[in-house]
Symmetry: C2
Subunit: 424 residues, 2 copies
């Protein structure tokens, strides 16, 4: 078994955390921003130093490739993203880039024989923090392979027109303008594709507390959860808080509260504690303390592997519209959905075997969040490796995984990739 270097990983973690440093522990590193360009430059610097060839494609995705012993062999790619959410942490995304870099650096330092070219990759704009949607570039590159209900919003001509959701210094009018000006836009022929690439691996933090609670460092990811999103709306009648008797009210906020509690009760009755469902967003109109609300809507986000269970929850959510809540009419509208994406069985097996052989504390785990790997999985054999997240925190500055566990993740990635390399 080969092992990644703690010193090298620490150096990368320390250095990347300076690019977009927000001054209080975390970073804001929007895709193609000055901070993201610093990160890309450091990627180029280190990868060039070990003899990797750098290319970029038309979405500014970056590829650093070490040749293998067989000039005709397909590449094996490892990668993630270097952009972050606003006031995000130092691990989400960039860990997968650092892990890929570390694999290449270890291969060179240890002179590890390998047949296939090995590629470390940066996906452009995974978070969609400045220019929506998230997973933008994997959505574009894998577009021909995506399900019909997902593909349209990731068409290249659509995402190029995406406008920034906030105004930033040195900002651009559209994602397309930012891409043109980035200096990293390359040739469409350089895109990740299933002809030239044999497999894709993505190392990522878990972003949840499951591994930590179980005392494990490594998650062998076998799928990305299927999900559906809906919007539940309540229509009441606005009236003065001081003059309108209770019995005559149609209070849309009270209606929404009752329906939300009922929905929790009904879903919990299904008895699937591993199911996750969330109401994260609520809109109230007119939202004035002296006026009974005439309109409220809230989001519902439900995730699980089993489509039959998702359908049962879907029925409960849509059933809310079958009755009045606090004398308010209720409507439910589906927003979007995706089926569970299972990762490649053989690759999942390599990750599992690598973790076992390294003696890592590990377990199988689902991914509840979306990742570029999930779109790649529609196009070529793909899988992921998770490392534990302290307290399950992510998308926030306290997001943390120790250098040791990050390095362990890189070691699992390295050995899984080598198993894939040795496959035929």
């Amino acid at each position: 078994m080969y092992r990644a270097s703690l010193d090298r990983m620490s150096e990368k973690i320390h250095t990347f955390s300076k690019f977009g440093d927000a001054g209080h522990g975390g970073i804001t590193r929007y895709s193609l921003s000055d901070a993201a360009k610093q990160a890309r430059a450091y990627f180029v610097e280190r990868m060039t130093k070990i003899g990797a060839e750098i290319t970029t494609d038309d979405m500014a995705n970056m590829y650093a490739t070490l040749p293998g012993s067989d000039p005709t062999a397909q590449r094996i790619v490892m990668g993630s993203h270097c952009d972050s959410v606003k006031n995000g942490g130092n691990y989400d995304g960039i860990l997968g880039v650092m892990g890929a870099m570390e694999v290449l650096e270890t291969v060179v330092a240890e002179k590890i024989p390998h047949k296939h070219p090995l590629t470390a990759m940066i996906w452009t704009n995974e978070e969609g923090s400045l220019y929506e949607p998230s997973m933008m570039s994997s959505g574009v590159i894998c577009n021909d392979y995506l399900p019909a209900n997902i593909a349209p919003k990731f068409r290249k001509e659509v995402v190029l027109k995406s406008k920034p959701i906030e105004s930033i210094e040195n900002g651009y009018e559209t994602f397309g303008d930012a891409l043109e000006a980035s200096g990293y836009k390359g040739d469409e022929a350089n895109r990740l594709n299933p002809k030239d690439y044999k497999a894709m691996f993505e190392l990522h933090i878990e972003q949840g507390p499951i591994l930590e609670k179980a005392g494990n460092d490594i998650g062998v990811v076998n799928c990305v959860l299927g999900m559906f999103c809906a919007r539940v709306r309540f229509y009441g009648v606005a009236a003065h808080a001081g003059t309108f008797p209770m019995e005559d009210r149609s209070d849309a906020l009270y209606a929404a509260s009752q329906a939300l509690c009922y929905m929790h009760d009904e879903i919990d009755k299904l008895g699937h504690p591993e199911l996750v469902y969330t109401t994260g967003e609520i809109v109230c109109h007119p939202c004035v303390h002296t006026v009974i609300p005439d309109y409220v809507d809230f989001s519902v986000d439900v995730r699980h592997t089993d489509p039959e269970l998702l359908q049962k929850v879907h029925d409960i959510v849509h059933g809310l519209a079958d009755r009045e809540w606090a004398k308010c009419r209720c409507e439910v509208e589906d927003a979007w959905s995706r089926d569970t994406v299972y990762y490649d069985e053989k690759l999942v097996g390599y990750v599992k075997a690598a973790a076992e052989e390294l003696g890592s504390k590990h377990q199988y785990i689902h991914s509840g969040a979306g990742h570029d790997a999930q779109f790649a999985a529609y196009m070529l054999p793909t899988t992921m490796v998770f490392v534990s997240s302290e307290k399950g925190l992510s998308h926030c500055e306290p997001e943390h995984t120790s250098d040791e566990v990050c390095t362990e993740g890189a070691s699992v990635l390295l050995n899984a990739v080598l198993k894939c390399d040795a496959e035929d």
Copy 2:
């Protein structure tokens, strides 16, 4: 019994509804705006025509006074406001101005003998729609008489600094600037005061459905409900909607929904259907559909005449903080409160007697909303007359009361004022 003129009232209703006409049935007439100045000019035009003397005070409150037979007698004042909420209706406030004008016009037209000077008044900025707070000028004029928990926010030096809550055409930086530029700022010596004024009457729409449901046109208002406002806050932990198990969540929005439903149940158990309580405003953070909310707060507005019942509700609301809701900490903070303001018994009796003698369908009623009359009541004998509101609607464009019922309200006002005039 004297009666107001339906033709004159209809003419006023029709004309005032043009000032600030929003083009779809209602008006937007912020205080001291161009639209409000048109309304003031029309007030001056009609009142000057019948020989009333016009004065304004330092808050631009306007007074049109007809002399009485006794030059030493105190004035009797009737009035309300001519400003509206944004996209408001044609009755809230302006009806009380039109009613006062109609009383003076009827007195002149019918040559009705009266001992006391009679004054029709416009209060400046009752709604506080552009410059907060609402009831601004009555708060300033009556400031020395207001309860200690209310007076400070209505000090003149405080309200003059009030900034507009939105930017409008020909707008000003502060209320004070708008006042200086209005052309209606007069002398502090002209203020309504308990030395020169014997009593104040305010005619207003009910803004609720009680009169209509009971089949009555006239409300004999005996008090403004006591009330308290509080803010209930929930502190949870933000986490990813897809990665965080349900059992580990501290979901502030689910917590707030549970607490809101519980609060309704507990308050309803008190068995006082005439009590009104409202949650009109809710704030959710970060309010993103993929993130479990870490912070939610909502408003509570409770109104009733009985301080003991208000205290019981206050205990229920504050009791929410005694337990966790969905593993979230709860805090309750009092915002403000006021005691029930009872109107002058003698004046209430005059209104009741006038309604009876006119054969108006009437009843006693409380005012759930705040009015300038409620601040005036701390300073001099005051009361109100309500007319029914169709469907109880107000602060919206469909707000409506028929010309006939408006005229009936003016007749009740006229005869109540004449009873007050004849008192000694």
